[in-house]
């Protein structure tokens, strides 16, 4: 495996940094080296934020931000209007967007694969709150195959013990099942 780079776009309060951390922890459980870090912005609720993840089977030494991601995860489709979410995305990469719309309705300028999932709906149905960060990790595991859904669920339940974690893990599985082969 060569290094895979992931950029997560969200708004302050949507748990983008947490999602990056959980993804790094899950990938480590799968036996990979991993690195997760925020874009170091001044965090304000609602403001566009980014977080980055690198996965590799070798020690990760690179410390720059991610400019040419293999994967982009967009937690909030309204960001597409103000942020170039597909910037630098590799042509053979993939962008996964939380929206009720179909990929072809989004008119993204990218050669990469575009996937959509209504993660907010899944979060509302299963978790009962519109917090979609763990749901998007399930979708990422299913669509990319870079991490296992079990590791994502473990990482989620370790971070959020008890009922909250259980519901999040259920939502992760649901998104994963929709993501696989979608």
């Amino acid at each position: 495996m060569i290094m895979k780079e992931i950029r997560i776009h969200g708004r302050g309060g949507q748990g983008s940094v947490t999602a990056a951390e959980l993804l790094a922890i899950a990938a480590f459980e799968d036996g990979l080296y991993s690195q997760a870090f925020p874009s170091f912005g001044v965090e304000r609720r609602g403001a566009p934020v980014m977080a980055f993840v690198r996965l590799s089977d070798h020690t990760i030494r690179l410390r720059s931000q991610v400019y040419d991601p293999d994967y982009v995860i967009v937690q909030d489709a309204t960001l597409i209007e103000t942020v170039d979410v597909a910037s630098g995305l590799k042509a053979d990469g993939m962008i996964i967007i939380n929206t009720e719309h179909k990929p072809e309705d989004l008119h993204l300028e990218t050669e990469a694969v575009v996937r959509t999932i209504d993660a907010t709906r899944i979060a509302l149905d299963i978790i009962g709150k519109p917090i979609m960060n763990t749901v998007m990790l399930g979708a990422f595991a299913g669509a990319s195959g870079e991490v296992t859904v079990d590791s994502i669920k473990h990482a989620v339940q370790d971070r959020f013990p008890g009922k909250v974690g259980e519901k999040n893990a259920e939502a992760v599985q649901s998104a994963y099942d929709r993501g696989v082969g979608a």
Binding site: E21, A24, F28, Y33, A36, F37, R61, L62, S64, Y67
Partner: protein, 402 residues
């Protein structure tokens, strides 16, 4: 987090890694004042104390000046002491930094490197600690979260050595290392207890045997005290190397002593840097070497004491030395590391051109492409000689571009 501290290999935040490492060294007294991006370290440590999983006394204070002053007192009384700060907080400690070193108190302090105001900025560069280079503190710069853990344990060993007895700053890049999640081998308490001897101060306050620390001295004595601090700094050179070797024999990891080198043998261009940028440079060196370009890397681990002999030896065969400075010594046009390498080489036998690049100030990102452009400039120096001894890299705004 309650109960026992975790140990073993896992993905944790860099800040947690350093808090954990500091805790494993069993400091008697911790005092710190929270400031971004150091906050998570002191939150974790105060949590450990509140949960009763470590036995340290945590002194809450109203400022960084007081935090370090509290540790000066505690250390003079023979306690093992720890603090962490950054940027403006470190600047507020400035006066006490000299006192801690002059009184020969082996306080260990993590510096979460951040830029200096104004303009106010919370992101990484090395200006805060580089500006404290004359205070008498040993300074070790850190490449990744694992080295942070390992060097924290080594820092107590180095500073507390009776031949040294000086305070130590362990300098880590703010956000880049403090907020990264990556795999780290967290140290086991028993292993650290075996590695790190008990702190036996050379001198300590004792009501039964009164002594004075840092008292008034007239011109007949002052200069000799300063000379002794310089001698202790010099003695710390071999102790820094020894601590790294001892750590390696106990834990199997070695991140360099005063310096570390990477593909410097046969290198025509040698990149020099401190801190987490070294990781990015290792990737660049591997890439350029695979394309047949003779590029190597010199990591400065100890900036104080300054390892000029080791640097000279490492660059002796090169055609150009390229220093990447995350600081600017205003009024000289270049970073402090560039100046010191040039100064250190001036009277020597070897003559290698040295060029400096001021880079990454206030958190400006350093992409691989930027480093590649710098290497191209170094190739120009080999072909055509030095055009500019120092320059600012990746200036954004056209009105400040030269």
């Amino acid at each position: 987090m309650t109960g026992e501290l975790k140990s073993g290999r896992q993905v944790v935040e860099g800040s947690y890694a350093v808090a954990h490492a500091a805790a494993m060294c069993r400091p008697d007294v911790i005092s710190a004042y929270p400031i971004t991006p150091q906050t998570h370290i002191v939150e974790d440590l105060s949590q450990f104390v509140a949960d009763g999983v470590i036995d340290s006394k945590y002194i809450n204070v109203e400022s960084e000046f007081s935090a370090l002053s509290a540790l000066v007192g505690a250390s003079a009384a023979g306690a093992r002491t720890y603090s962490a700060t950054t940027s403006q907080g470190l600047a507020l400690m400035h006066e006490v930094l000299f006192n801690a070193a002059g009184m020969r108190l082996p306080i260990v302090m993590t510096i979460v490197n951040r830029s200096m105001s104004a303009p106010i900025n919370i992101w990484n560069d090395h200006q805060d600690s580089v500006a404290q280079r004359d205070t008498g503190w040993i300074q070790i710069y850190i490449e990744d979260a694992q080295e942070l853990v390992d060097a924290t344990a080594q820092a107590f060993m180095i500073g507390e050595d009776p031949d040294v007895s000086l305070p130590v700053m362990v300098c880590m890049d703010g956000f880049i290392l403090s907020h990264v999640f990556e795999p780290v081998d967290l140290l086991d308490q028993k292993d650290v207890d075996d590695f790190l001897p008990q702190f036996l101060p050379v001198r300590a306050l004792d009501p039964d045997n009164p002594e004075s620390f840092g008292m008034f001295v007239d011109p007949a004595y002052y200069m000799d005290f300063r000379y002794l601090v310089e001698q202790a700094m010099d003695a710390s050179r071999s102790k820094i190397e020894d601590a790294a070797k001892k750590f390696e024999s106990s834990f199997g990891r070695h991140y360099g002593g005063l310096i570390d080198t990477y593909h410097t043998d046969g290198a025509e261009i040698i990149l020099v840097a401190m801190g987490s940028l070294v990781g990015t440079l290792r990737d660049v060196v591997d890439d350029l070497r695979s394309k047949g370009k003779p590029v190597g890397l010199l990591k400065i681990r100890a900036f104080r004491p300054f390892p000029i002999d080791e640097i000279k030896k490492a660059v002796a065969g090169a055609k150009v030395v390229v220093v990447l400075d995350k600081n600017i010594s205003l009024g000289t046009g270049e970073g402090a590391v560039t100046t010191e390498i040039k100064a250190g080489m001036y009277n020597g036998d070897i003559s290698v051109p040295v060029i400096g690049f001021v880079i990454g100030l206030g958190g400006r990102d350093i992409p691989v492409t930027t480093v590649q452009r710098i290497v191209e400039k170094a190739e120009d120096v080999i072909r055509n000689g030095i055009a500019a001894e120092s320059e600012f890299v990746d200036l954004n705004h056209s009105h400040v571009r030269v």
